[in-house]
Symmetry: C2
Subunit: 202 residues, 2 copies
């Protein structure tokens, strides 16, 4: 995929949040850089301050932590979604989690310093504040929904929800990552699947 086409796709998806005019866009794209992340490579690792916000042009990533030597996968992102370790990026504290490419992944990034420059640039400041607000609000709602499902639902119910709405995750992620994502062990998810299969296959 060539750079111009990639920028065009990015711009199109940004429309969901803000629209740039030509002059603004020209300044904005000067702050962008592309990254190709080979499968299994890391976007961020614990102990490092996350400097970039990425937008996935192609590929996918998983977010995971290590607990007692075990990897625990907490989240996934796919094409046309943003990727960053929000807490680290926003607070400038070292990240506590890994973000890893699950396939060869191509990203458009902007870094913290660039964003601060744009936020300080009168030409872009307003639009960047708005952009930041709308993106944060979007992900806030995602988290709110997910928290609610952890509070009010059983692992089995969360899996059934995923069956009806989580196509990408189900089709593209190995099952033991999905188990972690649901808050249970892979063995437990296997049993839940069996339970569903024998009781009500539909």
């Amino acid at each position: 995929m060539d750079t111009l086409k990639a920028l065009d796709i990015f711009r199109q998806h940004l429309e969901k949040y803000v629209s740039f005019n030509e002059a603004e866009w020209i300044v904005f794209i000067q702050h962008l850089h592309f990254t190709a992340l080979k499968k299994k490579r890391h976007f961020i690792e614990p102990g490092i301050v996350c400097n970039d916000v990425g937008f996935i042009l192609s590929g996918s990533v998983r977010y995971y932590n290590i607990k007692d030597g075990e990897e625990i996968t907490g989240y996934f992102s796919f094409e046309n979604e943003f990727v960053t370790s929000y807490k680290s990026y926003l607070t400038r504290q070292p990240a506590l989690n890994y973000i890893q490419a699950l396939e060869d992944t191509v990203l458009v990034n902007f870094n913290y310093k660039s964003m601060q420059q744009m936020l300080a640039n009168p030409m872009l400041a307003y639009k960047m504040e708005r952009f930041g607000r709308l993106v944060a609000e979007y992900y806030l709602i995602c988290y709110e929904d997910r928290m609610t499902s952890f509070i009010t639902k059983t692992p089995e119910e969360r899996y059934l929800d995923l069956l009806s709405t989580g196509r990408d995750i189900l089709q593209r992620m190995p099952q033991h990552y999905i188990a972690n994502f649901l808050g249970i062990t892979p063995v437990s998810l296997s049993r839940i699947r069996r339970r569903i299969l024998v009781s009500g296959p539909l």
Copy 2:
């Protein structure tokens, strides 16, 4: 507490996000209104679009859902924190949860329409976008932390975390609400407390 003092406290806490000059502040406060919520009264209920964002001057609230006829408490807010059903407020869809005052609670509110007006008012737009961004980012980080604890920790570990950092919640909330907040039943929390007591009280 008189209105002027309340506004002053509110302004002081907003400094965490944005600073208003006098002219801006005068316009801003014209969009504010005060609410006194008697104990057990609701700030929002399911089926209703949440129009307000509140800031708690005194008192506290809990967020809860109803599942199979049972109340499940998912979150709490105390003095000097914002309160709203974010998803409903932002998407203009009916809320799915209750927010209830746990004590007599006094709030400063602004509503959705007011915020839209301020966002459209050149005098305030930039600052309001920034305000919205920083508040959303703040709560995004809270949710990120909480999600991580659900993925990587056991209920017992989450309770121990609360013991070391959750003073307000532990001291001001009944235990069965705290149990829900941790993702377990009240009976289960009672057992966890017993386990901790007999094994290592410290």
